[in-house]
């Protein structure tokens, strides 16, 4: 049982008498720091063999990262298992960690210096890499003292220095992650609760120059409609161009990382351009390097964004095209660009149509069973409301059935009542379903007179009266003239029903 301890004891005694190695590694670090001082990354791309080696930086740096996590684990483990074979391992692992930290830093410098990087984040990352290498070496030397002298003398410092090295490593690695994936990569999808707990700003508010969405407290999931009328003063640049660039370009073209000498984080710097000339020439698409790059075939070497980053969408590209063609103004208001395509709705972010349906599910089930109709959740989002569905047995649905649905009045958002036996009396019950958006009365006995109470449904979007007994001419004007309400069937003129044979069909 005592053999492992003896082995490790012998091993440490032998290793202790090798001061030359420590001097060698120390001078490597100093040399590296001097190089970095003399030739800092300046944003100039120098295509040489150095860049080829530099690209191995992300690969190599994972060694010190993993090892520095592992070492404290082994130390603590070995503390409780005296004489365990792993006791000697940390010294060896620290040695590898030191060597790879130095190598990784050197490669990182090659990448930054020759790959055209510059910016605060790059510089901080580089120096914390140097510091990390130094701390690893220090920890390695102290570890040997600790093994020989125990907790007396310099050995006492081993544990704090090791922890400091781990902390520096976490800091440095996170910066590296930010350089590759962008600033807010880690926290972008952080749950809002955790966000506020950590005192972080709400999601989506990372860009200071972007317009803040008009906040509507108490309306969860309210869609941010940037082009609503009160926002007419917002410029097209702020509302459309800047957010598009932010999503796609700023991870490489901002003060933190400035590839090709180009920064796109402010209007002035964008107009100034980068190493390959001005990025945007107002009113001239052909000379605007930015536009040329984003419209190249995606497999072109010069296509932007490079790498495998998600390209700008067709809509975003169109915005940039229109904006440059119209003079690339910083202040031209959104309203001047009426021909620009609308931004896509934020997918997955639904507007609440009704209060949460979950508390009413038991009641809904009981009612549906008793009444012989179906009550269907519109989606898994509990604020999307319920649909009254009668397609299987329309004849089961009568005025009484509609009246019996009163307890669910606020969660019903769609009523599919086609071919049911309801009459005007039933519409009185329907008119209390305040959140109703779609009402299908196809082939029912309702009349224009009976539709009067329906006018109270302010959220109604469609009203389908196909094949019903409603005389369209007698519909109350409060319905026919309401904006945002589509009433079917459309007349022949609305639809452009044109049954004349088209001229071109003569063949």
């Amino acid at each position: 049982m005592s053999e492992p301890a003896e082995f490790s004891h012998r091993a440490t005694r032998r290793r202790h008498h090798r001061p030359l190695a420590g001097i060698f590694w120390f001078s490597a670090i100093v040399l590296l720091a001097l190089l970095a001082l003399a030739f800092p990354p300046d944003g100039q791309q120098r295509t040489t063999l150095a860049q080829f080696f530099g690209r191995f930086h992300p690969l190599v740096v994972h060694f010190p990262v993993a090892l520095l996590f592992l070492i404290p684990v082994i130390e603590v483990y070995a503390l409780f298992r005296r004489g365990h074979a792993l006791r000697g391992a940390p010294a060896f692992l620290l040695w590898i960690a030191t060597a790879t930290a130095i190598l990784g830093t050197a490669l990182g410098w090659l990448l930054a210096r020759f790959g055209g990087y510059k910016g605060d984040l790059v510089i901080t990352h580089m120096w914390s890499g140097c510091l990390l290498a130094l701390l690893c070496l220090l920890a390695l030397l102290l570890r040997r003292r600790w093994e020989v002298d125990g907790l007396y003398g310099l050995g006492l410092l081993y544990a704090p220095v090791l922890l400091l090295a781990v902390g520096t490593m976490v800091f440095t690695a996170h910066q590296g992650g930010q350089l590759i994936y962008g600033d807010n990569y880690l926290i972008e999808y952080m749950p809002p609760k955790l966000r506020s707990l950590l005192g972080l700003p709400a999601a989506g508010a990372t860009l200071k120059s972007a317009p803040q969405p008009p906040s509507t407290p108490g309306a969860p999931g309210a869609v941010n409609r940037e082009d609503s009328k009160q926002d007419t003063k917002v410029s097209f640049y702020e509302a459309r161009i800047m957010p598009a660039l932010d999503r796609t370009c700023l991870s490489c073209h901002s003060p933190k990382k400035t590839k090709g000498g180009l920064r796109l984080d402010t209007y002035a710097l964008m107009m100034k351009g980068g190493d390959s000339g001005p990025a945007v020439v107002a009113g001239n698409l052909d000379d605007s390097e930015l536009y040329r790059r984003i419209t190249l075939p995606h497999d072109d070497e010069e296509f932007m964004p490079g790498g495998n980053k998600k390209p700008l969408s067709a809509t975003e590209t169109k915005w940039i095209e229109l904006w440059i063609a119209a003079g690339a103004s910083e202040t031209a208001p959104l309203s001047e660009f009426s021909q620009a395509p609308a931004p896509p709705e934020k997918h997955g972010e639904a507007v609440a149509w009704a209060p949460d349906y979950r508390p009413k599910l038991d009641e809904a089930k009981a009612l549906a069973d008793r009444l012989g109709i179906r009550l269907v959740a519109r989606s898994q989002v509990p604020t999307d409301g319920l649909i009254v569905r009668t397609a299987s047995a329309p004849s089961h649905c009568t005025d009484d059935v509609l009246a019996a649905l009163a307890p669910l009045a606020d969660v019903i958002v769609e009523a599919e009542l086609a071919r049911t036996r309801i009459s005007d009396k039933g519409l009185a019950a329907v008119s209390s379903w305040k959140n109703l958006r779609h009402l299908d009365l196809t082939a029912t006995a309702v009349t224009a007179e009976g539709l009067r109470p329906v006018a109270e449904l302010t959220k109604l979007e469609t009203l389908n009266l196909t094949d019903s007994r409603v005389d369209a001419a007698k519909l109350p004007p409060i319905l026919t003239q309401r904006a945002g309400l589509a009433i079917y069937p459309l007349t022949q003129d609305d639809v452009g029903v044109d049954v004349a044979a088209p001229a071109a069909s003569a063949r």
């Binding site: 038991d362 299987s392 196909t466 589509a486 459309l490 049954v499």
Partner: protein, 515 residues
């Protein structure tokens, strides 16, 4: 333990000991298969056995039939109701089997007019391997479209003279010119676009929708296929039920086909001497036996069979009502044309598709065949387009005026495209086109897709995509999205894999197509 099974592996399967019959757990099959069986158990089975009042179960039960029977796939409980609010409640897919040429229809290439009988530049083909039908040709001479194009509607969309009627609703359409596929032959290509996979045995789009969303109307199947009489009968593609099968999903999600002639559904009518009551008694008896077997074995296929008997019985009433068009107003025939009065024509099927949509059928797929124009392109395309043009216009307009286009997705297209060069001899008015998987055109309308919109671009030869390619996977993901379904969450565990319509390769919803 199973020693005796090895001597007589059928001992349990053939056992008829009443009440003491074997259950699935006694069968001499691998444990993994038993587990799969357990997963396939129905919701009722699952809930009945666990008796746990899961919060979800509350939701599950109010959804009634709307709940797919495969709730037992507990891991993907999402596949119960739409993941998010849907734009589409139903879809009508006008499938042009045989692959219509994009060059004469939706991908306008004015530059080709000057290149008649010139050779296709080698740089365009880029060394692509051709099919056996044209690989041995000495030349690949360019064949421009003899049909003109004009701009229509507020959007100014270019529409071929072959579609004078459809052109009137150009402002309702989103044309995608940049679809592409890997398959170069009909069977794999049609399978890929109907089921998402070139190999037979996967559930088709309609089956996935039926599984994911359930039926809106219990009296009719949720997935219906209509095959059409053909105006041209050259190079006809065989259609088989693998194109609308439910694959590994429960058989009740497979399509019911309405035949173009004779009884719409075979053997649906009671034979002479059998009345409804006798039929009901017979079905009740068969169902009782099937239920007894199900209690013991738990095989979901048995429940599917019970459901099919019940569905067939209900269809004895619902199908005659569906196919009775005597009450259609005159305006209907004005829209679809007189041909719609003839059973089985494409026009009749378009009208049927509208009637099915009205009655809450989730997915109707209308097949029109013989678009495989290896020769006589102008003549055959004229006949085919004339056959489908007016009914298509009629369908879109009819849906729109009845308020159904808001939540009905209409899709038109084939399985791949056709070559810009002629197969066989080239004359101005007679030439052929071979299969071309690198680009083809389709359109969609209604249910939240953009109106009067064209997406994607091809090069001057309609040979390679130059902008915004859309793979069939992306198309499927987008269609599912309009139904409120996340294609990555709509899964079914089979053969150890969470199977999904879009397969294992990445697919993207094309948000640019959506309004």
């Amino acid at each position: 333990m199973y020693a005796h099974d090895q001597h007589d592996p059928h001992a349990h399967l053939c056992s008829d000991h009443a009440g003491e019959g074997p259950t699935v757990w006694d069968l001499p099959v691998p444990l993994s298969l038993k587990r799969e069986w357990l997963q396939l158990e129905t919701r009722r089975h699952f809930l009945g056995r666990t008796g746990k009042a899961l919060a979800w179960a509350g939701l599950a039960s109010i959804l009634g039939k709307e709940m797919p029977r495969a709730f037992a796939n507990i891991t993907s409980r999402e596949s119960v109701v739409p993941h998010f609010a849907p734009k589409a409640k139903r879809a009508i897919y006008l499938f042009m089997a045989g692959a219509p040429s994009q060059i004469e229809t939706w991908d306008y290439k004015p530059m080709l007019a000057d290149l008649f009988d010139k050779d296709l530049p080698e740089s365009v083909r880029g060394g692509q391997v051709l099919t056996g039908m044209t690989a041995s040709q000495a030349r690949l001479p360019i064949a421009p479209s003899p049909f003109g194009f004009k701009q229509y509607g507020k959007s100014g969309m270019w529409v071929s003279d072959l579609f004078p009627w459809t052109a009137k609703v150009a402002d309702e359409l989103t044309v995608i010119k940049s679809l592409h596929t890997e398959a170069i032959n009909h069977e794999p290509a049609i399978l890929q676009i109907t089921t998402g996979n070139m190999f037979a045995g996967k559930p088709s789009l309609g089956s996935w929708l039926s599984y994911g969303l359930g039926a809106m109307n219990d009296e009719l199947p949720s997935f219906v296929v209509l095959t059409s009489k053909m105006p041209v009968t050259k190079n006809v593609q065989a259609l088989s039920n693998r194109l609308w099968s439910s694959g590994f999903l429960s058989p009740e999600h497979a399509a019911v086909t309405l035949r173009p002639g004779g009884d719409p559904v075979l053997y649906l009518q009671n034979p002479a001497g059998i009345d409804g009551e006798a039929r009901r008694a017979m079905i009740d008896g068969v169902n009782a036996l099937n239920r007894d077997l199900f209690e013991r074995v738990g095989d979901p296929e048995i429940n599917a069979r019970i459901a099919q008997y019940e569905m067939a019985f209900r269809m004895q009433t619902s199908v005659p009502e569906l196919t009775d068009v005597s009450k259609e107003p005159k305006s209907t025939w004005d829209l679809y044309g007189e041909k719609a009065k003839e059973r089985g024509t494409f026009a009749y099927n378009c009208l049927m598709a509208r009637r099915l949509a009205e009655r809450g059928v989730r997915f109707t797929q209308v097949f029109l065949r013989s678009w495989d124009t290896h020769g006589e392109v102008p003549e055959r395309l004229s006949a085919l387009c004339e056959d489908c043009d007016r009914p298509t216009y009629g369908l879109i307009t009819d849906l729109k005026r009845r308020g159904l286009l808001d939540d009905t997705l209409v899709i038109w297209g084939g399985e791949f495209g056709r070559t810009v060069y002629s197969q066989g001899g080239l004359k101005r008015d007679n030439y052929g086109r071979d299969h071309h998987p690198r680009c083809f055109s389709m359109w969609m309308a209604g249910a939240g897709v953009k109106r009067g919109f064209t997406y994607g671009e091809t090069d001057d030869f309609s040979y390679n995509i130059t902008k915004d390619p859309v793979h069939i996977r992306d198309l499927h993901a987008t269609i599912l999205h309009q139904f409120g379904l996340d294609h990555n969450k709509l899964t079914f565990k089979f053969q150890g894999l969470d199977q999904k319509m879009t397969g294992v390769l990445p697919a993207e919803v094309i948000y640019d197509l959506l309004a």
